[in-house]
Amino acid sequence: MHISDGVLSPAVITAGWAITVLLLLATLWWGKRDVDIAEEIPKISVMTGAFFVASLIHVSIGPTSVHLVLNGLLGVVLGTLAYPAIFIGLVLQALLFQHGGITSIGVNVINMGIPALIVYGVFKKGYSTGINPSILGTICGSMAVLISAIMLAIVLISTGEEFTEVAYAAAAANIPIMIIEGILTGSVVTFLLKVRPELLPINKEK
């Protein structure tokens, strides 16, 4: 799912960093409006740590194993602050584990972060129209991975037409992850709703 160093063209890398910096500023500014950022920093950090650890879990399917992405869940739980959280998570993954390159962090954060933001909107909207939360969680989990896969393919193709088939292959490889993430996110959302509903964006509006 991550793009490593050396793959993308200078134009795509530059655009990736520019968009990520703008979205970071926007989401942090948006976060500062409702709450004190001094209070949020330790909280988002610990939650980012939890998601970072959860994304190290490998699920084996047949001969290969995939690791969890959880960007849909991040969007549902952290809202707009999912974007800075994903940024921090991916920086640490690139620096500590060499998952994804350093130069491509900007692009990778867009690929993971924008779906998280979209899914947050979908979850809030869907919950207020009364869709069953566990089904909604399943939809959100798979949708985030699906959008990420499509964006990954677009980024790869826009870096050079040589990558067209690679992009299709990479996107297709995400189909099993999509199913796994869907079931998993649905189950996490159901669990959180039972045990600690204030973590979901459903009570924040009241």
Partner: protein, 253 residues
């Protein structure tokens, strides 16, 4: 699940280890950004050679670098298979409708060589400094304080949360749970991740309260003072010049 031991060998003594952390970050980032955009295999190989040379100077253990390079190589290896079959160009082998092209082979090798030299440089940059010092150096380089603190706290709590997760995992396994990619396995894993999130959320509240009671205001405090010396310039300058030279040598020569 292994701890991220990126700075395990940060206490070795070598010219790169003693390089000022701020100058190290700038120098290596310039080199990484220069090497990932090299446009021919020859240049990329020269880049990889320079990266290996710096690796020898840095005296990092072989296993540390090889193991991590292997992960990157295996990740990019599919390119070597897919691209020769799909990229148009001069055929080097043909079997019925399947053609293997030279261009595809060259392009995918170029990508892999660039990636390997970038990762080698990144490993030297990170492996020769304690990770908390790297983050502090980033703060001195004017990366916004909010992001620096999030990086610092997240890094710190990764270890705690890993322990927490492993405790839960051990409890699950001792009750006979095996993770399989079916509905049951995933929904149990989902509950476990849900519990991990709740535990972390509660921990976050406690952490925040204890930080507030110690006078936390939302600004990072650093007590490390770095000092640039002549030897730092002596290392940084030639390396940055090499990085720039790789892209502009046709103007000079």
């Amino acid at each position: 699940m292994d701890y991220p031991e990126i700075d395990r060998y940060a206490s070795i003594d070598s010219p790169i280890h003693n390089f000022d952390p701020r100058a190290k970050i700038i120098t290596f980032m310039v080199m990484i950004f220069s090497f990932v955009f090299l446009d021919s295999i020859t240049k990329a190989l020269v880049g990889l050679g320079i990266a290996s040379l710096i690796y020898i100077i840095a005296k990092l253990p072989k296993a540390f670098v090889i193991h991590r390079l292997k992960v990157v190589f295996l990740f990019l290896f599919p390119l070597l298979i897919i691209m020769p079959l799909t990229v148009d160009g001069q055929a080097i082998a043909q079997y019925h409708s399947i053609t293997i092209t030279l261009e595809g082979f060259q392009y995918s090798s170029l990508v892999i060589i660039r990636a390997l030299s970038a990762v080698t440089l990144a490993l030297i940059m990170l492996g020769t400094t304690r990770f908390d010092i790297t983050i502090k150096a980033l703060y001195m380089l004017k990366v916004p304080g909010t992001l620096i603190q999030m990086l610092m706290f997240t890094y710190r709590y990764i270890f705690v949360i890993m322990d927490e997760f492993q405790r839960m995992w051990k409890a699950m396994e001792s009750k006979g749970f095996k993770l399989k990619a079916n509905r049951y396995g995933l929904s149990v894993l989902g509950n476990m991740i849900g519990m991990l999130i709740i535990k972390s959320y509660d921990r976050a509240q406690r952490v925040y309260q204890s930080m507030i009671s110690k006078g936390y205001t939302g600004n990072p405090g650093t007590i490390v003072n770095f000092k640039l010396q002549a030897k730092d310039y002596a290392i940084a300058l030639p390396m940055i010049l090499i990085a720039l030279f790789m892209h502009t040598y046709h103007l000079v020569l």
